[in-house]
Symmetry: C2
Subunit: 373 residues, 2 copies
């Protein structure tokens, strides 16, 4: 049985983030946010705006950081589809940890999983990983000098050894409880993902004892399994439990899932500006049936996928965001005007990004070791 609302391989919509906090033992982020601010740590946009709603052990890691201990932040991308605003959400967080807090960044390129679970041919996975994901991350501002990108199929013996050891530490029924069912591809992919998160603690990979993994709420089953596995090797390989933060998921432009498989409702950072504009103009908003009604009652930004774009980073300033929110709520600004503002910001973002992407793609092929087959 899959815990309701949580299936990392599925396509579920998570409606009630607070329920995740109460049911699955994720800690609420708000108290920590206040505490971090009190201690004078800079907060990321996603922290300030409550886009990060929960965490596990981030308090311990931040304390270690303040003591001057080495901290790394880690994520993984499946090289399938194209880089979109949902991916940007994670990369923005990596950039924050790297550039505001000086952390080392690791990025797993899940080509093994892409091949075994998603049936993406090897060469294609490598091309997508570099041209789409690594290049986009660099174009967004992640510093490749302070980032270790690697392919899951090309990571060296101690990493795979961890995966082998993990295989003896999880039962079929536990696996099924987390993933719904079991098959050889999923077993290897999920144990490899645990190795992704934990291997940076090994001496061979820098020995980072503190690791933060920023994930969407749907990824918590992976995090829980990985944390359990860290415990279960105790006495043989000493591994700290990784910390995690949980962010809300940005919606597609129709209010559904943002995903490469739904290109009409998903903004890709490499979209032709004219195409991006058409998608934006057709986006679901929180507008009313008529202009008159909207002037009277105000719009509903919580329903609006354009407001989502602002909230998730298209608008950097919290004050500006507040103003957009108030202008909508009050009925002072209608959807047409708002979309023109959004398009102005989006066009600039796409232009800047796509200019940088050309060079970033060349760089991507140089900064990552490419598997021979």
């Amino acid at each position: 049985m899959v815990p309701e609302g949580l299936d990392p391989w599925g396509t579920v919509k998570i409606k009630d983030y607070d329920r995740l906090v109460s049911v699955f033992g994720i800690q609420s982020f708000r108290p920590l946010k206040i505490e971090l601010a009190r201690r004078g740590l800079p907060l990321s946009l996603h922290m300030r705006r409550d886009l990060i709603f929960g965490h596990r052990d981030l308090d311990r890691v931040m304390a270690a950081l303040e003591r001057g201990e080495k901290v790394a932040v880690l994520t993984g991308f499946m090289p399938s589809g194209r880089f979109h605003f949902g991916h940007k959400l994670t990369v923005d967080q990596l950039i924050y940890y790297q550039q505001e807090l000086g952390m080392k960044v690791f990025v797993a390129l899940a080509d093994a999983e892409a091949y075994a679970v998603r049936r993406i041919p090897r060469k294609k996975a490598v091309e997508i990983a570099l041209n789409e994901y690594v290049a986009s991350m660099i174009a967004l501002g992640l510093d490749p000098e302070k980032t270790e990108f690697y392919f899951q199929t090309n990571r060296g013996t101690p990493y795979y050894r961890l995966m082998q050891l993990f295989s003896g530490k999880v039962t079929t029924s536990e696996f099924e409880a987390v993933y719904g069912d079991i098959n050889p591809a999923k077993v290897v992919a999920s144990l490899t993902q645990a190795a992704d998160i934990l291997h940076v603690q090994l001496d061979e990979y820098g020995g980072y004892k503190w690791v933060i993994v920023p994930v969407g709420a749907d990824q918590d089953p992976h995090i829980r399994l990985t944390r359990d596995l860290a415990d279960r090797l105790s006495g043989e390989v000493e591994l700290n439990k990784p910390a995690a933060t949980y962010h809300k998921l940005i919606r597609g432009l129709d209010g559904g899932k943002m995903s490469s498989s739904r290109p009409d409702f998903t903004l890709f950072l490499s979209d032709e500006p004219s195409l991006a504009r058409r998608k934006l103009m057709a986006a679901l908003t929180g507008g009313r049936a008529t202009a008159e009604e909207q002037r009277r009652l105000g719009g509903v930004p919580e329903k609006c996928t354009v407001y989502d774009l602002y909230l998730f980073g298209l608008v950097k300033s919290d004050q500006e965001l507040r103003k957009l929110y108030d202008d909508c709520r009050s009925g002072r600004m209608l959807c047409g005007q708002c979309k023109r503002i959004a398009w102005g910001l989006l066009e600039e973002l796409l232009r800047d990004f796509q200019e940088r992407l050309v060079q970033a793609r060349e760089l991507a092929w140089k900064v990552v070791d490419i598997p021979r087959f």
Copy 2:
């Protein structure tokens, strides 16, 4: 469902070798034996005595050998328990291929499987692998200069990459059909075993396109899965199907299974001579109820576990073996006398072996790369 009589993780007795040939598509070895002899190839003791009863594709590999192509022979040992006469049977075959036919030998030390499936602690698995298995193989005469021993947890990225790719090429139901059930440890262990057999074809490991795997009949499920996996990567990684030979299993001294878990009925090559002698003297024979009856009717060597020892290699000369057989059958020689002959041969073997074992143990730790954890 496990195919009847075949469970590599179980403890089954295989009674009807010919049935395996007819049901599972294993080729009968006898016609090939005649053909190999006709072509002037030296036959091993196990070939001559029909201890090898079946094969898959050995004819193709032998033809490649005659064309001067590179051929390797490969086996794996689980580092648990102690090295006994059952293991010797495989090692004798490796020595034949290495020394009579000039083949390269690879030996996988299945420490990953020992840990995950059998729950043997890491350090213990390494010690057993080197002190028991590698040392015994060297003491028996396997040339460590022409043998590549390796630990499954210490084999380098391309080997693990194969395992990752395989994970996408087998379904849960296929896996269950071969192994009876599925769990994460078995999935990883069996895919790793497939990588053991196939990775030596990669350039990084010598690029041996022809590989022979001598196995007991109970290991055929592994072989079939591995051969299927080689096919299924076609177009991505070109791998030849491995050849296999199937040998009969030597019985324990009570007629049951020979196994480390049944030490009273299993002859270990490191047994104290006095202990080995006691086990031998208590061994099940094919003798009759009384000496008188046995002189009249003769003994039954087919039932006799002492005769098994002769047959499986304690007696090297086929003529001598024939004489022992005839003397038993005819009633000329009774069990007491026969056991004294056996003890003479066994004592010499143990003495020689144990003398060589001291130095072989030192050497074992030098010729194998030991995993850091």
